[in-house]
Structure formats: structure tokens, C-alpha cells
Assembly symmetry: C2
Homo-oligomer: 378 residues x 2
């Protein structure tokens, strides 16, 4: 069965439909992150209201807690969690390399210590396929090694080769007909290695392909160089997923290059810190200037938070550490991202993406806030 239908192309940008076991997902799509099987501070009902069709969960986290076997026994993550939309699970490569206390990479797999209780675990490519099948994700990702920035050419080269061998093992290990499996192009920040990884991974029979290992501390220009290096090689008829990205301006850049799928903790995490997205740029709700500001976060926004609450009240909830602040701010930021993706899809469909890209850049970068995200290079 086809994984992707392209409905319209506009330059390199593509609007289409991703076919999953839990519904059709309009692309380009941004997946809010529900690491532990829930998008932080959201309910499923709220996500549905916001038009979220697909979320990302982490196989690494769910393997550790509550355990993929329990989830399997409960009928899979959809049934366990009650979320009826599509789910993609990251295999845990990134988490093992960024969260694991101890980690030792061997040919067979990776040894690491749980960030929760320090227990030791050995995960192989085959095991991570089984974990994701237990979870019942609509789309599973191969176990890969995500190298840090900077890393030496030699280390990155060996890592690319290992990631390819693991990708072949993942493909051989899959047993689910229903679950899609994506390969991941790595290669750090060496164009030669990105090309080599793309050549190896794209030759394998995956349902879609991801570009991984980006936004790990490198300059933005270098990140886009890596995308530009491989995007032309990626097959037009399969989904292209840029992992862990990003800021609204990054989504625009990615779409312009032909990316179909994105995920990032940014809208939800920044919401909890009071950094709110508006159509003129980011704003920091903690700023004292909003103490008596009766206006909404964004005067053009139709979300529950903007329809109902003033900046002054939302700032009060934030500085008073009220839990409801997390909820209301997250609603707004996720709504902003969903709205952005709707506008992007509309622009592609109507052949006006380039115009929209330019107007967004002008307006959005004219905003008051240009603080960089503390969790990535955005």
C-alpha cells in the first residue's frame, strides 16, 4: 500500500496525504511531541479540537515506562492511551545518546542506563522494532546512532556505516504488515558522509525516509546545507521527514525544500516557559510590559486561549506557577503550529507558496522577540 500521495507541487514544496493505519494525515505535517504517550499539558480531546492528526511518541521512553510489553498487552498505544489519530514513534536513537547516563555502542546494539532509575538496558535494532510493534505505532523508525556536533570525520564515518547495518537489520526484523518503517539518513555535518548515508539508506525498501542528526548544536546554515545535500536524492513518491525540527521559520524553510513531516518539542516546551508564538514573532509572556495588557496573545488568533484570556491574566497565571498556565499556553502554541501548517498547505495547493514564504519571513521576523530556543539552535 502506498504511504504517500502527492496532491500538488509548488516549486520543491509538496502538499499531499500520508496514509496511516489511523487516518489520512495532510502534509506537510507538524507532529506535536507526546514523549510518554501524551502531549504534555494536553488532552486528546483538545488535540483533536486543534486539528492534530498525528503525534510523535518515544519508543525509548515507553520501553522504560510503562513498558512496551504492558502497552502491547493493553492492545497497543492507541487503545492504551485512547488517542485515535496517527502515531509515529522515534526509535530512541536520539534519546539514548542524549539522556542515557552510560552508553556503550557495540556492533550488536547499545548498552545504556535508564534516565529514570539507572537500570541497565541493551537495545538492538531488532529489539527496537519489536518494541515499536508492541506499541503499535503507525510509523516506526529504525534504531540509529545520532552523533553529536562536532564529531570527527572518522567517528561520523564509522557511525554512518553502523547506522546502515542497523537499518538493514531493522528492515529484516519487521514482522508487522500494518506498521510503516522509515529509514534515517545520518552523516553528521560532512556532505560526503550525508551522500554516502543517503545512497545506502535510500537503496533499502523503506516506506519513507528521514533526515536525522540535525539541530544538535550546529549553525543553522550548516543544517540547511546538509538537507540540501541529500534532498534531491530522496524519492518523490515517499514521505520525507526532517526529525526534531523546529521553529516556525524552519518549517517554512523545510517545506520549501520539499520536506513533508516535522516534529519538535518547541511549541509545547516554550509554552510552558511562557514563550508564545504570534504571527509577528515570538513574545515572552513573563515580560513586565504585559502586566496590565488587556489584549490577547495574538489579536488574529482564534484559539480558546486568545478568545478568552488577556495577556495580563495569562502572565499572572505564569508567574504564579499555576498549572492552568501550561495548559492555556500550550493550546495557543499548538494552535499556532497547526494554523501555520494549514496556511502552508493552502499556499502550496493554490500555487502561492513562494509568495506566502516571503510574506511570512517579512512579518514574522519583524516580531519583538528573537531569543533563541534553549533546547536547540532555533
Amino acid at each position: 500500500m502506498k504511504t504517500m500521495e502527492i496532491l500538488k507541487e509548488d516549486g520543491q514544496a509538496r502538499a499531499g496525504r500520508l496514509i496511516t493505519g489511523h487516518g489520512v494525515v495532510d502534509t506537510p505535517v507538524f507532529m506535536p511531541v507526546g514523549t510518554q504517550g501524551i502531549v504534555k499539558a494536553m488532552t486528546h480531546g483538545q488535540l483533536e479540537e486543534l486539528g492534530v492528526q498525528m503525534i510523535l511518541s518515544n519508543a525509548y521512553h515507553l520501553y522504560l515506562r510503562p513498558g512496551d510489553e504492558l502497552i502491547g498487552k493493553m492492545g497497543g498505544l492507541h487503545r492504551f492511551s485512547g488517542w485515535n489519530g496517527a502515531i509515529l514513534t522515534d526509535s530512541g536513537g536520539y534519546q539514548i545518546f542524549s539522556l542515557g547516563v552510560l552508553r556503550e555502542i557495540k556492533e550488536d546494539g547499545v548498552l545504556f542506563q535508564s534516565h529514570i532509575d539507572g537500570s541497565r538496558h541493551f537495545l538492538t535494532p531488532e529489539k527496537m522494532i519489536m518494541v515499536q510493534e508492541n506499541i503499535g505505532a503507525d510509523i516506526a523508525m529504525c534504531l540509529d546512532e545520532c552523533v553529536s556536533y562536532p564529531s570527527s570525520f572518522e567517528y561520523t564515518r564509522d557511525s554512518v556505516e553502523l547506522t546502515t547495518r542497523w537499518a538493514r537489520r531493522c528492515l529484516a526484523a519487521r514482522s508487522s504488515e500494518r506498521q510503516k518503517l522509515f529509514g534515517i539518513i545520518q552523516g553528521g555535518f560532512y556532505p560526503d558522509l550525508r551522500l554516502r548515508s543517503a545512497g545506502d539508506i535510500l537503496a533499502l525498501d523503506f516506506d519513507g525516509f528521514a533526515i536525522g542528526g540535525l539541530s544538535v548544536g550546529e549553525p543553522k546554515s550548516l543544517m540547511w546545507d546538509m538537507v540540501d545535500t541529500v534532498i534531491g536524492m530522496m524519492p518523490a513518491d515517499k514521505p520525507r521527514y526532517m526529525m526534531g525540527i523546529g521553529m516556525p521559520e524552519d518549517l517554512m524553510e523545510g517545506v520549501r525544500r520539499g520536506i513533508d513531516m516535522f516534529d519538535c518539542i518547541i511549541p509545547t516546551r516554550l509554552a510552558r516557559n511562557g514563550t508564545m508564538f504570534t504571527w509577528e514573532g515570538r513574545m515572552n509572556l513573563k515580560n513586565a510590559r504585559y502586566t496590565d495588557d488587556e489584549g490577547p496573545i495574538d489579536g488574529t488568533c482564534s484559539c480558546y486561549t486568545c478568545r478568552t484570556f488577556s495577556r495580563a491574566y495569562l502572565r499572572h497565571l505564569l508567574v504564579s506557577h499555576e498549572l492552568t498556565s501550561f495548559y492555556l499556553n500550550t493550546i495557543h502554541n499548538v494552535h499556532f503550529y497547526m494554523e501555520l501548517m494549514r496556511k502552508i498547505r493552502h499556499a502550496i495547493t493554490t500555487g502561492t507558496f513562494d509568495e506566502y514564504y516571503r510574506s511570512f519571513k517579512t512579518l514574522y521576523e519583524g516580531g519583538e522577540s528573537d531569543d533563541r530556543c534553549s533546547v536547540c539552535n532555533g
Copy 2:
């Protein structure tokens, strides 16, 4: 204008309507606590869905942050927060005596240090009326002294006399026609002093009367003795409010004695700890026995949480420290309390309260959990 209409009496229990500047409130009523102008982990929309007609906020907290003057400038707490239901503000007596780092009681008022930033404040009865008028509460409470348990007879006697003098000053200081003002009966755990306080306070022209200073560590039987001591003296045509109470079984007991109004942090705070109310008693969601329990919190409950999620998933969210756990658990517990009050009002209206009281006691105490609340003696 009348503050209360009694629609039906059944024994000592009364069903009625409280007339406020923001709607009619069905009594007996339980007010969820929104200390800082928001019920923790709830949105206003959710509260409305749950049938909440009235919440309690704390003048002490709002005076400190964001400041009653700001709230006044923003048009009052209703306009500032967007909550359109009724609001009662506690004056802060209890908070000053339980949270204040330093507190020094003088004839004129009370000196204390903020629990937020250590700043020093001097609050008088007149000032607390002004604060509550700035906030625009539908019902304001007199500033009182809340004595701890145990306290000596002499200390309590002096405190009762001071509370009466403060009550007279509050009454003289009020300038709002729209805002109701309630007096508070104190007297610690000395029947003589309760009687004296009731005699003094009930002689004043308040719109309603509260019994304060209960649930401060005393045995439950002593608490009910104090209620029984004064309830018969309280006028039948004005609302009777038992402050800071309580557990579901306490609401039953209070209603049976003729109380109309209650507030307590219990349903919301216990929800965040995973203690859930069911019609068979309390349950602790952290308990490992729920790890793979596919049933809802309460099979007879119609709340969003019970309609949508299993105990197993809710337990996963709780032990994983997910923010959504707070929201979902709070929805259930507040729904339980609202449902309990609906059932109580229905029983009174149909003249079957005594029967309902007995069946509730049998069923509810038969539940699995009898852990006492860590924040009160419930």
C-alpha cells in the same frame, strides 16, 4: 436584596438558591478553590462543563500577587480572569496565620511577611474590605483571627473578642452595595467561646454567616461539636457557610446539620496526588494493582476522564509526572464533588435526604481506601 432563598427543608438540611452578582447558585454548594484566581489545573470552560457555579479565591494571595489594585484597574477579578460565575473571596485570616512567616497581631490589624518574597505587609479589617472590593468578589469575608489547635482558653477568648471588633470594623468599612459580606464565627474548641462569638457576630447585619477555625488539626468529633453548638442560633433566612470543609462524608454531615456552603482544596489537591474519589470510597491511583487495569476510575462516572481513559493509562501519566495527569484527575474529582452536591440537593428536594445520607455512608465507607488527607484532618 435577599441573599438566600430556601426552596425546601428536609430535617435540618436545606436546598435553596444563593443570589449573587454573577448568577444564582444552587445550595448546598461546594466551591472549588481557585486560590490565585484559577482553580488549579482547570480552565474556566472545564469548570462550566462540570457545572461549577461558584468558586473561592483568596484575597490574601491576590493582594500579594498580582495585586488587588491591578485587578481593580482591570475591571475586577471576573473581567480579569474571564470567569463569569460567582466568586467568594476568603479574607486571608487563615492564610496569614498559616502561611505568613512572621505575624504579629495588633488591635489595628496584622503584620506579616509574604510567603512569596518575604516583603512585610500590614493588613487591617478596613484594608481587607477594600482589597475584596477591588477584587470585586460577589461575597467577601471579614478579616478574622483563626486560632490553631490546641489554643488556651484565654488566648482563644481574647481572639474571639478581637475577631468581633474586627467584624464591626469590616461592616463599617464596606462601601460596595453589590458585594455581600459574611461574618465569621470563631471560638476555637470551647463551646462557651463559640456561643459568645455566635452571639456577637450574629447580632451584626451581615448577609450571611460562616463557621470558621475548623479542620485545623482537631478530632472530627470535636469539629462537629462546635458546629452543633452554634448552628441552632444561625438565622434560617441567611446562608450558612462552613469554611475549609471537606471530605465527601463531611459535606454529608454538614448538610445534615443545615450548612449551605462549603469550600476545600481536597478534591483538587488530592487529584494531583492521585487520590481519586469513587462512589465506593477513595482510591490511590499510584497503587501497582492498577498497572494493567483497563477499567475507568469509577464505572458509574460520566466525566470526560472516566469516559475516555483507563486506570492503567491514568496511572502511567501519574507516575510519569505528566501534566495532563493533573488535568484529568482534577476533572474527575471536581465532577465527583459536583455530582455529590447534585445528589444531595435532589435528595433534599424530594424529601429523601436521610435515606440518601444512610445509603451514602454505607456504600462510601465500604471503599478500599481510608487514608486520611495530609492537609487536614479528613
